[in-house]
């Protein structure tokens, strides 16, 4: 058996052990369904927030201090403009109150009404309306101003013919620049989201071997580089299982999307086409995982306790978010020096190149980028293994090159 083949076999043995040890445990189910738990909490929180928001909207009123004729014109205008708003953007209902002698004072008093929330009050005449609003309710005041304008036009036009538009939905297939940008962002965010969840898992894997003392058995039988790569591949297998599970569910879920949303998604066409984009997305997810994972594995291998590993989670998250920010900037500004930097810097390269696939149709840069990224995976694994061998197994020379050089410099005559 050739040394390379033996090393590959040993790598797969380590990967298999780690995969089985991770997947065939009850804890894995918790990990697998973590997004569901997270989404459930998100949904519950969102429903609560929506309920609170709806409750406060129901109790809010925009008050009109107008005579009956002007108030009726404003209501007509409200009926025309209100459908332009949806959800939380919808303005509060109108409430007409008979104007008193001092409408200025009446308006200010209305804002302090304790029975209902009054964000804004408008008093006539409509040709020169005066609007007051409570702090933070400027949108309500603007809406009242728009209603007044529309109502004045309505009153002036009388029964004259008004424009009535015919609105028709057409399904388009041509990709748009906006669609490319959206697919670039989707690619960057998708890979970031997946690696954020999954690559951090490898940080503590070497600690298991150190605590169990298995590392001595492994180190005697297998090159440490194979141990590192095997652990990385084992955990990557876990990540693929996770992605496949949720990918299948999400793919099935798209069948139930509303027609408008599905049509909108068809506009999101990456520059390289769907087929290549899917392949490149998978390839860049793999390299992103391997790159970040190899760095985290190498750093985590130096930690000997769970406390040290936990302390590493913050810098790890910061690194990931920084790479996401850099790649997002690259995706939104293709062809700039920021984009080039993000595409070349090893840790952000997979994210940025996935965005590049959405923005540019050329395929050859991806072959170069993947080779470049895999080279860095090899570098990170080699460096991580050497640091581990030197620091943990104490295999390093007591007199390394840098020390010898330093000593020589110190003893040189001045």
């Amino acid at each position: 058996m050739t040394p390379l083949r033996r090393q590959w076999r040993q790598t797969l043995t380590i990967a298999r052990r780690d995969f089985v040890a991770t997947v065939f445990t009850p804890i894995f189910l918790l990990f697998l369904f973590a997004p569901l738990i997270m989404a459930s909490f998100g949904a519950i929180g969102g429903m609560g927030a929506a309920s609170v928001s709806a409750g406060s909207t129901d109790k809010a009123r925009l008050v009109l201090l107008l005579d009956a004729e002007e108030a009726a014109a404003v209501r007509v205008a409200d009926a025309q403009l209100r459908p332009l708003f949806s959800g939380e953007a919808r303005p509060p209902e109108l409430e007409v109150r008979a104007p008193e002698t001092d409408t200025g004072r009446q308006a200010r008093t209305a804002l302090d009404d304790s029975r209902v929330d009054v964000p804004a009050v408008m008093r006539g005449p409509l040709a020169h309306p005066a609007i007051v609003y409570a702090a933070g309710s400027r949108d309500g005041a603007r809406y009242l101003a728009a209603l007044a304008d529309r109502a004045v036009l309505g009153l002036a036009a009388g029964d004259a013919v008004r424009s009535t538009a015919r609105i028709e939905r057409i399904v388009t297939t041509a990709p748009s620049q906006g669609g490319r940008k959206a697919s670039a962002f989707f690619a960057v965010f998708g890979i970031f989201f997946l690696t954020l969840f999954l690559s951090g898992q490898v940080v503590g894997t070497m600690a298991e071997e150190r605590n169990n003392k298995v590392i001595e058995v492994l180190a005697a039988a297998v090159p440490l580089e194979s141990v590192f790569l095997g652990k990385l591949l084992g955990m990557f297998g876990v990540a693929v299982l996770f992605v496949a599970f949720w990918g299948t569910i999400v793919a099935q879920g798209t069948q139930f999307l509303p027609a408008d949303v599905a049509s909108g998604l068809r506009q999101v066409v990456p520059a390289v086409g769907y087929g290549w984009f899917a392949l490149l997305f998978a390839a860049y997810f793999t390299t992103a995982y391997l790159l970040l994972g190899s760095v985290f594995l190498g750093v985590g291998a130096q930690a000997s306790t769970m406390r040290e590993i936990q302390m590493l989670s913050l810098p790890i998250t910061i690194v990931q978010v920084a790479m996401f920010a850099l790649a997002s900037a690259a995706a939104s500004k293709p062809g700039t020096w920021v984009a080039t930097l993000a595409e070349v810097f090893p840790l952000s390269s997979p994210f940025a190149m996935a965005g590049h696939a959405a923005n540019s149709p050329a395929l050859w840069p991806h072959a170069a980028a993947l080779a470049w990224q895999l080279l860095w995976v090899a570098i990170f694994i080699t460096v991580g293994a050497r640091l581990f061998r030197r620091g943990v197994l104490q295999s390093g020379s007591a007199n390394p090159l840098w020390k010898r050089l330093l000593r020589r410099t110190e003893t040189l005559p001045h």
Binding site: M1, P3, R6, R9, Q10, T13, I14, R17, A21, T25, E208, E209, N212, K213, V214, I215, E216, V217, L218, A219, A220, A221, V222, P223, R389, L393, Q394, S395, S397, A398, N399
Partner: protein, 308 residues
Amino acid sequence: MTNAADAITAEGLVKRFGDRRVVDGVDLIVPQGAIYGVLGPNGAGKTTTLRMLLGIIEPDAGARTLLGRAHPRDASDEVGYLPEERGLYPAMKAKEAIAFMGALRGLDWRTGRARAVEMLEAAGLGHAVDEKIRKLSKGMAQLVQLLGSVVHQPRLIVLDEPFSGLDPVNQERLERLILAERDRGATILFSTHVMAHAQRLCDRLAIIARGRRRFEGTVDEARGLLPQQVHYVPHHGGTGLSALLPPDARESGDGWRFTLPGEGIEQLLTRLIAAGHGISGLSIERPGLHEAFVRVVEQADAEAGGAR
């Protein structure tokens, strides 16, 4: 002198940790098919030497070959190793743990599992085949690890303090296993500081103290390092007896112990009988490996003290 039939050769191995020379120029030659013991007190450098031989750590100086290969890693599929600090995955079943260790050394999983079951049953652990390691006693787990280190039927087996932590029954089992592996044709190198095992098992041995090899040879040669001891029981004691005995004579129980004189025992006995002390009992004893080991280590300590 080394030859191609040697399982292990090491020449001038040196390892420093910081400013401390833990191993200071160790030479070893382990012939194929031998049971070879590396003896030494705690901290002598035995484990570090074994780790260098196996390629777990690199020596700072010196060279070694393992089964004829210049780099130990190239022979890893033909080597079995039981480290001093035992380590198994607690969540693995005993059978899987053995098969995993075999798989690391090139044995396919299916064969590894089948052999694991056979070996566990032969070792009296048939009931533990599907037990998780965390549920086994320390001794049983140690036995599982030992079986894992030989499941791939290696040509060379390296055992670091294999008897430590085992009860007498399991020590006996381990001795039988080592002899069985030697009969299969394997070379066995093990370290220990318990002389009884070494005396019973080793064809050859090396004594390491303070990072250096102080002795290399057979058990008999090691025992020959010390002169034979005489145990003499006089028929009549009394004054003047001690003056007739050699200067190192010391009372021991009902008699006296002293080093066998260089000219033999006959002249001394003649003098004792003539002085009326008579002979109630007399035996000439060869010192054990234990005594030889203690002497070698004490000499090493004395040398180190003198050097300081």
